[in-house]
Subunit: 210 residues, 2 copies
């Protein structure tokens, strides 16, 4: 980080959206983009983009805009995506299967490196290209392979137990699909994918005709 | 709403988490809960809960706490979940299948009422209990049945086209799994489920050892 100030988490969460838009632009053969054009694509103002990026240094030139390829490289580096991160997936059910097959996870700095399930019928069988291991071996595999990220796709009542095992084994970032809030120690990051709550936060507006 | 002040969206997004925690408490037979206890379960301070709820009126009693069942009823009503909302699902692939089978969607104010796909091999076949319709019939079905919510589970390059058709037919709330930002008119709500961006917002911290 080129400055001492740590950016707010909301800024960090927007960086992947900038990177994705820049990746599309690059794919389309666009070499240069203004903060206005970039902002229009992701419904953020030009001023917000400039302010967000200012946490990380100087980018682009006044009146010329950003070099798409260069800015993408820089953001990928800021996000730690100049390397690939091994991710463990816990839960090889319908959801786990959709996650493994999701093509987005096969690119851009993330790869699913191990899959675990407690169901003996799943263990030893391939999910995509990965053979499912028994949940009993989570701790050993995570430690041995130095895996720091995990996706939790187990029922809500098992999620905290799984999280505890993962964290004890060295995982520092959790993405949980289980509809329950996890208790984690300081230094561990946790985010949720929670479609039902997201839908419920919109029925609020529909119900009042907003 | 018992007050004129519209709550910030961040407050609206927390209400479903409160409701879920209250539902668990009720299930566990807990009749009364303090804002402290409720907050501990979802990593929100007691003060935040009291402030959030204050947008919607007076709840609980000083020193006694909240009546779990009553507060849950009130929050469900605030969220418009005292009725059930029909949701259309666009995309009957692996992801669409996982969504249809997700048990969470079979409860609590939401039901998937129609499924569409552009692939002729999918059309006419059941996905869960619903027969997949061709995407050509989205507009007609949505209008005829008065469906106001939809889940988009199609590839990124088709998402905006699908959103346009849905919105023209009367949909006012979109949950999109497609990794692209949708342009929607005022009065339409859109939220995203974007696991890759969420993971990327955590590699930021891991890469710097935070």
């Amino acid at each position: 980080m080129s400055r001492a100030v740590m950016p707010p988490d909301v800024v960090v969460r927007r960086l992947p959206l900038y990177a994705r838009s820049l990746r599309y632009l690059l794919h389309e053969g666009v070499l240069s983009v203004s903060s206005q054009e970039l902002g229009d694509r992701i419904n953020v103002t030009a001023a917000q983009i400039r302010k967000d990026l200012s946490y990380f240094g100087e980018f682009g030139k006044q009146g010329i805009g950003y070099d798409v390829e260069r800015l993408l490289e820089q953001i990928d580096q800021i996000l730690g995506l100049d390397r690939s991160w091994a991710v463990a997936l816990i839960g090889a059910g319908q959801l786990g299967e959709a996650i493994v097959r999701y093509e987005g996870f096969r690119a851009q700095g993330i790869h699913i490196a191990a899959v675990f399930d407690a169901n003996p019928d799943k263990v030893g069988k391939p999910l995509g290209t990965i053979v499912v291991q028994h949940s009993d071996s989570i701790a050993q595999t995570i430690s041995a392979r130095g895996i720091e990220m995990a996706i939790i796709a187990v029922p809500a009542d098992r999620a905290q137990g799984v999280a505890d095992v993962l964290i004890n084994a060295g995982v520092r970032a959790l993405l949980s699909y289980a509809p329950t809030v996890l208790q984690v120690p300081a230094g561990v990051w946790v985010r949720y994918i929670d479609p039902l709550s997201v839908l419920h936060s919109m029925t609020f507006y529909l119900a009042r005709g907003e």
